[in-house]
Amino acid sequence: MAHAEAHAHDGHDHNHAPAGIGRWLFATNHKDIGTMYLVFALIMFFIGGAMAMVIRLELFKPGLQFVDPGFFNSMTTMHALIMIFGGVMPAWTGLANWMIPLQVGAPDMALPRMNNYSFWILPFAFTLLLLSFFLPGGAPAGGWTLYPPLVLQAGDSFGLTIFAIHMMGISSIMGAINVVVTIMNMRAPGMDLLKMPLFCWTWLITAYLLIATMPVLAGAVTMLLTDHYFGTAFFNPAGGGDPVMFQHIFWFFGHPEVYILILPAFGIVSEIIPTFSRKPLFGYESMVYATGSIAFLSFIVWAHHMFTVGMPLAGQLFFMLSTMLIAVPTGVKVFNWTTTMWRGSISYEPPMLFALAFLFLFTIGGFSGLMLAIAPADFQYHDTYFVVAHFHYVLVPGAVFAIMAGVYYWLPKWTGHMYDLKLATWHFWLSTISVNVLFFPMHFLGLAGMPRRIPDYNVQFADWNMVASIGGFAFGLSQVMFVWIVLKSVRGGGPKASARVWDDTNSEGLEWTVPSPAPFHTFETPPVIK
């Protein structure tokens, strides 16, 4: 893509970022806010990860050795809430903040002050959520799905949890609005929608999903709040309410939510695979349409999370068949990525390694997803470790690996320094091997009959639980390497990165036209795209 990039050569120092703490507290620069989001997400990954370590420690062998069953339930609940709302979602918003203005040739996000606000809500929301550990009754322990009536048995943490979820929701909605407005209004002249890099496309669709579903979650948890404190009976059968209605509302949010977590990953992978195959993405438009189709389908499949609640046959059939349909656009994506590599010139730098691991392991998660869609078989899988294996395959080697791929892809652009490629390759192999040792045996456990969310189990499940725990500890430890590699690059270690960073002439993103590190202000004059 040809372009005119004038301002980088005008001899003017663009790194006049404000100094001191004010730079971060009052940040309106998309790069600073993106950095804060990413740092926040990393911290949350480690907090949520520590909780996963507690879970795997307790499940290392049969019998209760370390924690009370109630605390165990808090661990599973908080692990999910923190990883989803504190880890993956802010990481995507961070990447969006950094990269979307750079990719569409905009000087910043469209609504910079709201951007500041949407970030700074998060530390408060999660501080509140984490403070619930110190309240009478402990942290929420009814599962991240918050099903009533169980969730209404929570102690003093209940109101705090609901409030924290509201804050996260507001933050997400504002972040999403910012993405939509930026993409719709601030593209450089000539940057047609169908010329945008796929990361912008998938994020645009994600943003619409967020705007559509976060208010639904807010409504659901508000009804829980009034049921708990103000004597309403939305979900209380004794008062004429309906506990199953909550599940319908929750999953109407919850299913699009899982695509909120994975669509930006599709975007990142769709950029990394072409770069390191030195070939344009195969079937760009079909990728966009496939993403749109997945987003549409995500709104009409929610009750496949609830096959066991006793829906009418027609309802079960509808949700089974519509769910199976998702395999079609998802398949199109996988085939397009594969064809992109076909007759390419492939090299294996860390971003590509993570993207390829994503390709294989997300596909495995897709296969187990198809199996789960088959309702008569789902009655066997439902709420077992098979489900745990499925969603961890799509979320960890799926979403999280794509985040890491994205960070390794753009880190030199952010810091101006190439990170330690050898160490990052080690990080990749350790992560990929251990993540499979961690999650693959969970398929076996579920099929053999181990329910999820239990702190102790029959001895027949002992072997694979021990294997999974060992994989878990290895995976957790491997992530310390990630912090080390990133910190080294941030602190100026490693060789200087060029503007294009990767030796490839095909990647079209405008981010490769600005110097590395990207100056504090970019595209003050819009680039012209032919």
């Binding site: 070939k279 008569p376 066997q380």
Partner: protein, 294 residues
């Protein structure tokens, strides 16, 4: 680098072969049990069918990926053919083929679902109520094909058996390996006959629970304010003890409310039921007498 990749590919293939060999082995704990009811056998069939379809797709797709990854390496001098950017034909082919495969799966799945949801013509109706953290079973009625006759006075609670309960306490110092059927044993199991369609009514008393015995192939939620139903028909000749657990998070002791079902022959079941009714009858009379004398 290339050696690493080859090793990884080899390890991946070996892993696939090992797991494929282990699937379907009768004593293996790696796979879904075939079970003892028509529903469980059907679930197992659909599970294996979908699994093999997925394995076949994986072999083709992963094969193409691995081939590309090995064949088109830059380090081996591969030059990119940048003209391959789009093919409507290819997109149509790989949209239609998956649709056909899905239809192939949807047909048996739909048939299976229709059978599962057909709870008519049951011979015995039992109600299971979930409590934090035990089950209650009430025998409601019997049907000999002509008339529905109520069963009265047969009802009991079914909770985790003592030995497991002592052992599972935090820091008990007891070894779970020494406890027979650790966490999967109860004081009073549910008793049902083989060869009879048993209709199970499910509800919850406090929070949502879910009733599941893997060998029976069906699980359903027990929800306060709702009565759900499911059916079990254990094949004749498959009498024995079957174990499962609550599978919907129901609070602190969710992991400690197992389900045990003892399947007896029709004759043995009839004898057991008669004994239960007799045992409860004098008690009921006595209670009535006590109430009257007050």
């Amino acid at each position: 680098m290339s050696i690493q990749k080859k090793l990884a590919a080899a390890a991946g293939l070996a892993g696939l072969a090992i797991s494929a060999a282990a699937f379907g082995h009768p004593e293996s704990s790696l796979n879904l049990p075939v079970g003892v009811t028509p529903i469980s056998q059907q679930a197992h069939y659909l599970h294996m069918l979908t699994l093999w379809v997925c394995v076949a797709i994986a072999v083709v797709v992963f094969g193409a990926m691995i081939y590309s990854m090995v064949k088109f390496r830059k380090s081996q001098g591969a030059v990119a053919d940048t003209s391959i950017v789009h093919s409507t034909k290819a997109e149509i082919i790989w949209t239609i083929i998956p649709v056909l495969i899905l239809i192939g799966l949807a047909v048996p799945a739909t048939k299976g679902l229709i059978i599962i949801e057909d709870t008519r013509n049951s011979g015995l109706t039992v109600k299971a109520t979930g409590y934090q953290w035990k089950w209650q079973y009430e025998y409601i009625s019997q049907n000999d094909g002509k008339t529905e006759s109520p069963i009265s006075g047969v009802s009991f609670y079914s909770a985790l058996e003592e030995k497991s309960n002592f052992t599972r306490q935090l820091g008990s110092g007891l070894d779970p390996n020494q406890v027979e059927n650790y966490l999967l044993n109860v004081d009073h199991p549910l008793i049902i006959p083989s060869g009879v369609k048993v209709r199970l009514l499910l509800t919850g008393n406090d929070v949502i629970h879910a009733w599941w015995v893997p060998e029976f192939g069906m699980k359903r939620d027990a929800i306060p304010g709702f009565v759900n139903e499911m059916w079990i028909q254990v094949d004749e000749g498959k009498e024995g003890t079957y174990r499962g657990q609550c599978v919907e998070l129901c609070g602190r002791d969710h992991g400690f409310m197992p389900i045990v079902v003892v399947v007896k022959t029709k004759q043995d079941f009839a004898a057991w039921l008669a004994a239960q009714q007799q045992a409860s009858a004098p008690a009921a009379t006595a209670t009535a007498a006590t109430t009257a004398s007050l």
